[in-house]
């Protein structure tokens, strides 16, 4: 800042031309996720940036090659830790694709209902955190409160708030609880009211809008070339949603819309997520409608599904079945498949290679936000330093998924 007593025409107004190297992260309060941006600044304008990820790398894909296929579930849980159920279901679907089986209808509706609840939790977190990073703390607390309701419901269903490990190849760990439908409907209702309140709070707020509108713009071509999927791609106006484009489970039978943006800026990404929460609520309602109260939840295949415990303890057939699945692991036929679902951040793909044994040969997780984060450089180059915060927030990088 120029000294106040200096005459303006005497002092030099221009900032020194030499660029400044600024290192943001890996642990920075305005960065959700552990990531490091080494920026070359000229004044406040970012000339060049090197986004460095990997601080949360835990070697998932290597770990997956050690146990059985079933033992991968806890790992995928810990990839996207704000919507683990979507990862669970995604991995189960990939294994089932390779096995060539499909789960009973009841299970499919159940998976959809749980998955969409997880998606709401993902979007609530992203939008809440985005608002918080721009100084609006109240919406964050409200949205996290709403997310907590989902997690309570998940705890009721699966026994764990966050890391459910609830998916199984060929079904789910247990059928829906008796009160599931009732509770889910109540939760969704409350979430929608929270979302409405948040909209009222934020969408009339000039500061909030000014920080988002026209910031972090990327063209649709660039986004596609970068491999963006999910809300970030849809904010550029491309209506690509795996649930519509390649319907899996029962998505072809439910009625929902794919919200898209037009300006492909941070605000559009924020709004696409808000809108998707509402669409998810519609899907949940329809799924609960069609979720049968009784019926099998698992496929009837002794090579895949564990027998009931009383059979394990009392009959040799049950013991053998249990032993084979637990000790050797269920065997996926040799071959390779790529199975993809719509995760919280976009296309969540699993490329599985099996050699026919009980241990995965290769489990490749195609993390949606790895590719989205790859676009961060393009999004913030040329922007002001302060725009990094909403831009990065709107991309919703989940460290666990990006770095694995």
């Amino acid at each position: 800042m120029e000294p106040l007593d200096q005459e303006l025409d005497q002092a030099e107004l221009e900032m020194p031309a030499e660029p400044m190297l600024l290192n943001v992260g890996p642990a920075h309060p305005a960065m959700h996720g552990t990531v490091r941006c080494v920026m070359e600044l000229s004044g406040e304008v970012i000339h060049h940036v090197d986004v460095q990820v990997g601080y949360l790398h835990r070697g998932f894909e290597k770990m997956c090659e050690r146990g059985t296929w079933t033992q991968v579930f806890p790992y995928v849980d810990r990839c996207n830790y704000v919507s683990p159920m979507l990862n669970n279901v995604g991995f189960a679907l990939a294994c089932e694709k390779l096995l060539g089986i499909s789960v009973p209808e009841r299970c499919q509706w159940y998976r959809m209902a749980l998955g969409e609840l997880a998606r709401i939790s993902d979007h609530l977190t992203c939008d809440g955190a985005m608002a918080m990073e721009l100084g609006a703390f109240t919406p964050f607390l409200w949205m996290i409160k709403a997310r907590e309701m989902i997690w309570d419901l998940m705890e009721e269903e699966t026994g764990a708030r966050l890391t459910h490990s609830f998916g199984r190849v060929g079904g789910m760990a247990s059928p829906p609880t008796d009160g599931f439908k009732e509770q889910a409907r109540a939760v969704v209702k409350q979430i929608l009211s929270v979302v409405a309140e948040v909209e009222k709070l934020l969408l009339g707020n000039r500061i909030f809008l000014d920080r988002l509108e026209g910031v972090g713009v990327i063209s649709a071509e660039d986004a596609i070339s970068l491999g963006w999927t999910g809300p970030c791609l849809r904010a550029t106006g491309v209506p690509y949603d795996v649930r519509k484009a390649h319907p899996y489970l029962k998505y072809a039978e439910v009625d929902f819309d794919v919200p898209v943006g037009s300006a492909s800026d941070c605000f559009d990404r924020f709004m696409v997520r808000i809108e998707e929460i509402k669409q998810s609520a519609r899907i949940i309602e329809q799924s609960l409608e069609r979720l049968a109260d009784s019926g099998p939840i698992n496929v009837d295949d002794p090579r895949v599904i564990l027998p009931p415990k009383d059979e394990v303890y009392n009959t040799i057939e049950g013991t053998i079945q249990h032993f084979k699945i637990v000790m050797e692991g269920l065997k996926l036929p040799a071959g390779e498949v790529y199975s993809y679902t719509e995760g919280g951040n976009g296309e969540l793909g699993f490329y599985l290679v099996s050699d026919g044994s009980g241990t995965p040969y290769r489990v490749r997780i195609r993390p949606p936000c790895f590719l989205v984060t790859a676009g961060l450089e393009r999004v913030i180059t040329g922007q002001m330093m302060a725009d990094v915060v909403p831009s990065f927030g709107s991309l919703n990088m989940i460290g666990g998924e990006c770095d694995r």
């Binding site: 894909e61 491999g227 999927t229 790859a374």
Partner: protein, 196 residues
């Protein structure tokens, strides 16, 4: 649909197509490594293929095979809705592998190829910035190779010497937390290490 694509590529490239197969609806095309870039460019630019997105690129290590690595790309056409898996095989027994980079076709290939280099040590020629991405620069070895033991302990990385920085090293070699300080003592190998 994707079968048509394969026929299209076969027509165009003939013997460069090594193998095709289809499992559970996933159409797969394996091509010669020197046709890798050309096939991908063809798939992107031909209007009938129109594969405008590279969804995934990774590698799989088959240490017993020659060539050793399979580079696997998953392409998708958002407009036409079809998908294709394109593979190529590179790498010798030692793991020395090189293949053309797809960065000029899809921007997303940049990080995907860096990750592939990071995990498998496959070099992508023509990549603008090929360096480790998830692991740190001093990491030794390529962890997703099958001959990389999962329990290998990495050597302690010395404090990076950044010039003109007036900060002191936080830890000496023997200070700090005990974990991460161990050196790998795996099964005895037949190397030149002196006795005891």
């Amino acid at each position: 649909m994707a079968q048509l694509l394969i026929d299209l590529v076969k027509q165009q490239f003939g013997v460069a197509v090594l193998e095709t197969h289809s499992l559970r609806g996933d159409e797969t095309l394996t091509v010669e490594p020197n046709a890798w870039l050309a096939v991908c460019r063809f798939l992107r630019d031909t209007p009938r293929a129109d594969m405008n997105m590279l969804t995934d690129l990774t590698a799989v290590d088959y240490p017993d095979r020659e060539p050793r690595f399979e580079i696997v790309a998953h392409l998708v056409s958002l407009a036409k809705g079809h998908r294709l898996r394109v593979k190529t095989r590179v790498g010798d027994e030692e793991g020395d592998a090189e293949v053309d980079s797809l960065c000029e076709l899809w921007a997303g290939a940049n990080w995907l190829e860096r990750e592939c280099f990071d995990m498998f040590g496959v070099r992508f020629t023509g990549h603008p910035d090929l360096r480790r991405i998830l692991l740190y620069p001093e990491f030794e070895g390529y962890p997703l190779r099958k001959d990389f033991p999962a329990d290998r302990i990495q050597p302690l990385v010395p404090y990076r010497d950044v010039p003109n920085i007036d900060k002191l090293s936080p830890f000496g070699r023997d200070e700090g937390m005990s974990f991460g300080r161990q050196t790998h003592s795996g099964p005895e190998t037949d190397d030149d290490s002196p006795v005891n």
